[in-house]
Amino acid sequence: MNIMNVEGLVLNIQRFSIHDGPGIRSLVFLKGCPLRCQWCCNPESQNPYVEMLFQANKCIACGQCVKACPIGAIGSLPGLEVDRKLCNNCGDCASVCPSGARNMAGRKMTVSQVISELNKDSVFFKYGSGGLTVSGGEPFLQPAFTTALLKAAKGRGFNTAIETCGYCDREILRDCLDILDEIYIDLKCMDAFKHQRLTGVKNETILSNISYISGLSPNHRFSLIIRMPLIPGLNDSEKDIDEAAEFLGGLKISRVELLPYHRFGVGKYRQLNREYSLEQIPVPPKESMEHIAQKFKSLGLNCQVGGK
């Protein structure tokens, strides 16, 4: 099959992304993720299928969706909220919604379609090594699509990057190494038990993948960047940081990026009618992030707060 015709489930393509790799980039978010991190700021990217999002503040209560819904999932709950027990995400409501309050998250796209979106900003990619960053969800949950997309982008001279949770088969990862300029892998927590509690999966695969890629990096051109989301009280204890530092100290990585917890995703949980479990957690102060960064730096690691 021609790689341009491979289909994937894309959540969104975001132009002018400037914190996920060098230069100006288009971030392609894929839908579906094997993890369920409690702090996830893109909950709509988790399920590997199309979902209906409802932004109540945009709703003008015109009621067109009530008529459009073939199974009567809208109308019984107050505020025109959808009954998620009934909703099968068919999208009929979103297609009649005049205000865009109802939206379908996720659409099937071919590599060719994504590339034509990327081409729109190719004039900017030329400078400062800009290009494509595949993100998620988890890109490697759609390995054929991700690989084809990276190949096609590389073929057009775009700089290529991926953001992965690292929870995937080693072979899939290995197959992409030659077509990647930047690999971002999350390191969420060293403690296996805690990792499972916070993300829903164990961290063995992730850690071994990080070690594996780090071991290969001298023979490849890609840069390996470890990203650590830091959630106050969950994975930022002295012990957490020390263990991470020890692990990373033995690896060959370009840098560590500390991503302070933020709450930008809270509203999306409401749009999905889901609970956000971290309501009580405050955004960490800048000083505490700098303090942790200092610790990594003192061990000789290149470390920064926020994405470059």
């Binding site: 975001q14 002018f16 400037i18 100006i24 005049p98 729109k120 900017f124 400062g128």
Partner: protein, 811 residues
């Protein structure tokens, strides 16, 4: 390209204590007006009654320069003022007196650019100034001539019988009608020849005159007027030399004493003789700018290509060890502070449409006439000085091209990130082509600079006054939808172009729109010619004319066609994106998808979409200009070209028929006022709401970020437009932290052939806090279209408008 060789340390010096004090003096000043200039010019005109107007103008300038109060502030290195204190608005009763008289008691409380004035000054004005000028001022003549043309005054004026006049907000010429020419560019002739050298040139032409030749008498009068003004300017500089010496005797430190003695020597030398050093060049420039301001009372004057003309002096002084880099930087900083002392008095009607306007331009970078990169060390120091000084002026205009060096772009990115609203960024590729399309040879075109808000100008080869007022494009559309009837004014204003219900194709609507635009532009052109005729008659500027290429040679004042090039002024187009989006909605819903009838749309507009929210939401979610959407962008291109072609059909009949400048899509703060005269629009905008800013997308309709906006803007036919259009992008500060990202954005901008871009670094939170606590944000700058203004000085409505624009949060 000249090698950029600055030691990085120079960028870390920051402001010296002296400059901090000078800056404090300006920041703590409030705009005010005094009667001084008004009284002096009144007396001068009384003394010269019956003489030729050029002589009267020259004698008036002489009297003002001889008798106006002058001062040298503590610590100043560059001296010279237009008024007695920073932010003084000079009053020009010869240009407008009616508004001044009417607004005397309200100017300090008005929401737009309030100006303080003392009771004593008010009394003096009432006693000595107003009675003399009644019926004689420029604007009165403009209005009386305009009023005689019924259709024109119907289009321009809310109530044509009233004076002072209030505009309709459909076509506006209030600024040109009530101000001097302005838009001047510094003439380097002053540096190389000195005024004495220019004087010899004038005398040579005067001697060669044969008085029996046709027009020779008028030429003789002009030459004599020029000579009077040249002597007056030299004498004025000597007043400063005397003052500096006087102060030096009282100076409280040896250092200051020596500085003042040096200032005295400099003022004795320049602008009379050629400049020999960097400080002399800067001082000569400053005197000339002040005198041009005092003589003509316009807006948007420019230092021209400062980094080009000042560079030889800068380099020589450094090479010879006469100046250290740090000293040179301090001189630049001192000059930068001086720029912010300048202010203008505007009548309320003008202030409403041009809020915060007091730009003094300065251009850096670009190309040499041979097409090589012209960036030098001084270009970088200029940008650094703007970062360090952190004031509104000089409004930095940078020229970019594909070979602009990386260091320059990074410094530009740093200046953008400093959040001062600088710089305004222009694309050489487009601006040079715009000039060439008007018939300017390539090498000359490469020497362009920026004046006004903004206009491309050839330094000292054009008469200035390139700004030709504003047209409300959204109003043109509304007139086309209502057969020429103006809903807000409840009267027929435009031609009857048919009931849209009878338009069987989208092209029928475009035809009606074109006719409305043609009618407006015809009116605009007529109004322009009236203004130019009156200026030529009443406001010749003999001193400035000595500095404009060909004026001496032709023996013609610049207001009468003396300059080498005399392009028609450009018109500013307001409400562009609203018009485009409205046309997209009509094309799609009525003509393509046929899901809406004209009847339904027109009644929804009449009812301001009340009860029609489903339709409005449907419209709001249609394709919009600013998203790199080919459908919307192709209509944008079509609309821009439509207006530009109509405008460019008119040559300049007054000053020499050099052809038209064209259009600039820009709003100058008028998008709020102009929005008030337009009802609900087919793009879903509600009755009376602000129109889109400049050539930016409608607020909140840009969904794909700045690269998409730049792409959309690149699809306009900028060369056909003839002038750069203002494009504002807004960023939260975190999006600007890494200069490399902006550099990539700017390189893309250059490649795309967008004419101009302005990047604003402010957070919503900052603006909201500034609105609540203005005292903490006195120097917070923002862009209001093509110029920057202090945010806290803006009217709340305009502040809200700025806050509402989408900031690009960085993800």
């Amino acid at each position: 390209m000249l090698s950029l060789s600055l030691d990085d340390q120079v960028f870390k010096i920051g402001l010296t204590e002296r400059v901090k004090q000078l800056k404090k003096r300006v920041v703590e000043s409030t705009p005010w007006a005094s009667s001084e200039r008004a009284v002096l010019i009144t007396r001068a005109y009384q003394e010269t009654e019956g003489q030729p107007i050029v002589i009267r103008r020259a004698m008036a300038l002489k009297k003002i320069l001889e008798e106006m109060s002058i001062n040298i502030a503590d610590g100043e290195l560059i001296v010279g003022n237009q008024g007695t204190k920073p932010l003084e608005c000079l009053l020009f009763p010869e240009i407008q007196v009616g508004n001044l008289e009417k607004e005397l008691d309200t100017m300090d409380t008005r929401p737009w650019d309030p100006v303080k004035i003392s009771e004593e000054d008010k009394e003096i004005l009432k006693r000595e100034v107003f009675p003399y000028w009644k019926g004689k001022s420029t604007d009165e003549l403009v209005y009386s001539k305009t009023r005689r043309l019924q259709g024109l005054s119907n289009l321009l004026y809310l109530n044509p019988d009233e004076y002072p006049i209030i505009g309709t907000g459909i076509v506006d010429h209030s600024l040109q009608a009530s101000m001097g020419a302005g838009h001047s560019v510094f003439s380097t002739k002053v540096l190389t020849m000195g005024l004495e050298g220019i004087k010899e040139e004038v005398q040579k032409y005067l001697r060669a005159l044969k008085l029996t030749d046709s027009g020779a008498i008028e030429k003789k009068e002009l030459y004599e007027a020029m000579l009077i003004t040249i002597d007056a300017v030299i004498a004025h500089a000597n007043r400063y030399a005397d003052l500096a010496l006087e102060l030096s005797e009282k100076a409280d430190s040896v250092t200051r004493r020596e500085e003042l003695i040096k200032i005295a020597e400099t003022c004795r030398r320049v602008p009379a003789k050629p400049a020999r050093s960097f400080p002399e060049a800067l001082q000569a420039f400053w005197f000339i700018l002040m005198v041009i301001r005092i003589e003509s009372g316009g807006v948007g004057d420019s230092a021209g290509r400062f980094d080009q003309w000042a560079y030889p002096y800068f380099k020589k002084d450094l090479d010879e060890g006469k100046l250290t880099l740090a000293e040179a930087l301090e001189y630049i900083q001192c000059l930068w502070v001086k720029f912010s002392e300048i202010n203008y008095w505007k009548k309320e009607a003008v202030a409403r449409f041009h809020v915060g306007l007091r730009p003094q331009h300065l251009c850096t970078g670009g190309q040499t006439e041979d097409g090589l990169d012209a960036t030098n060390d001084l270009s970088l120091l200029c940008l650094q000085a703007s970062i360090d000084v952190g004031l509104q002026n000089p409004a930095i205009r940078v020229r970019l091209h594909k070979n602009s060096p990386e260091e320059y772009l990074i410094k530009i990115a740093e200046l953008v990130a400093s959040g001062m609203g600088h710089p305004s960024i222009f694309n050489d590729d487009v601006c040079i082509k715009q000039l060439m399309a008007k018939g300017v040879p390539l090498q000359e075109a490469r020497d362009y600079t920026l004046v006004g808000c903004p206009a491309v100008q050839l330094p000292c080869k054009e008469p200035g006054f390139s700004y030709g007022g504003l047209m409300n494009l959204a109003a043109a559309l509304e007139l086309a939808l209502n057969n020429g009837f103006w809903k807000k004014g409840n009267r027929q204003v435009g031609p009857q172009t048919g009931d849209p219900r009878s338009f069987s194709t989208f092209e029928d609507l475009m035809k009606a729109l074109k006719q409305q635009v043609e009618y407006m532009i015809e009116g605009w052109q007529t109004a322009n010619l009236i203004v130019e005729e009156v200026h030529a008659k009443l406001l010749p500027t003999p001193f400035h004319s000595t500095l404009i290429e060909n004026c001496i040679e032709k023996g013609l004042d610049k207001t009468r066609g003396g300059a080498k090039y005399n392009f028609n002024p450009y018109i500013s187009v307001v409400g562009f994106a609203d018009t485009v989006d409205s046309l997209v909605a009509i094309k799609k819903l009525i003509y393509e998808d046929k899901e809406l009838t004209w009847e339904e749309l027109l009644s929804a507009l009449d009812e301001n979409f009340s009860g029609k929210e489903i339709l409005r939401q449907r419209i709001l979610n249609l394709p919009k200009y600013g998203n790199d959407d080919d459908l919307a962008d192709s209509i944008a291109r079509e609309v821009g070209a439509l207006v530009a072609k109509v405008v460019r059909a008119y040559p300049n009949n007054m000053r020499g028929a050099d052809g038209a400048s064209g259009i600039s899509i820009i709003s100058l703060g008028a998008n709020v006022s102009f929005g008030k005269v337009v009802g609900a629009l087919p793009n879903g905008r509600l009755d009376g709401m602000p129109l889109a800013d400049a050539s930016s997308p409608v607020h909140g309709c840009d969904r794909n970020g700045p690269t998409a906006i730049l792409k959309s803007a690149s699809k306009l036919d900028h060369v056909l437009h003839g002038e750069p259009s203002i494009l504002n992008l807004w960023f939260t500060p975190s999006a600007l932290e890494d200069p490399q990202k902006l550099v990539a954005l700017l390189r893309g901008f250059t490649d795309l052939g967008v004419s101009h871009v302005q990047m604003n670094a402010v957070s919503r939170e900052t603006l909201l806090d500034a609105q609540a606590h203005p005292e903490n944000y006195r120097t917070l700058l923002v862009r209001v279209s093509g110029y920057n203004a202090y945010f806290t000085e803006l009217d709340k409505e305009i502040q809200d408008d700025i806050i509402d624009r989408t900031p690009y949060a960085a993800f």
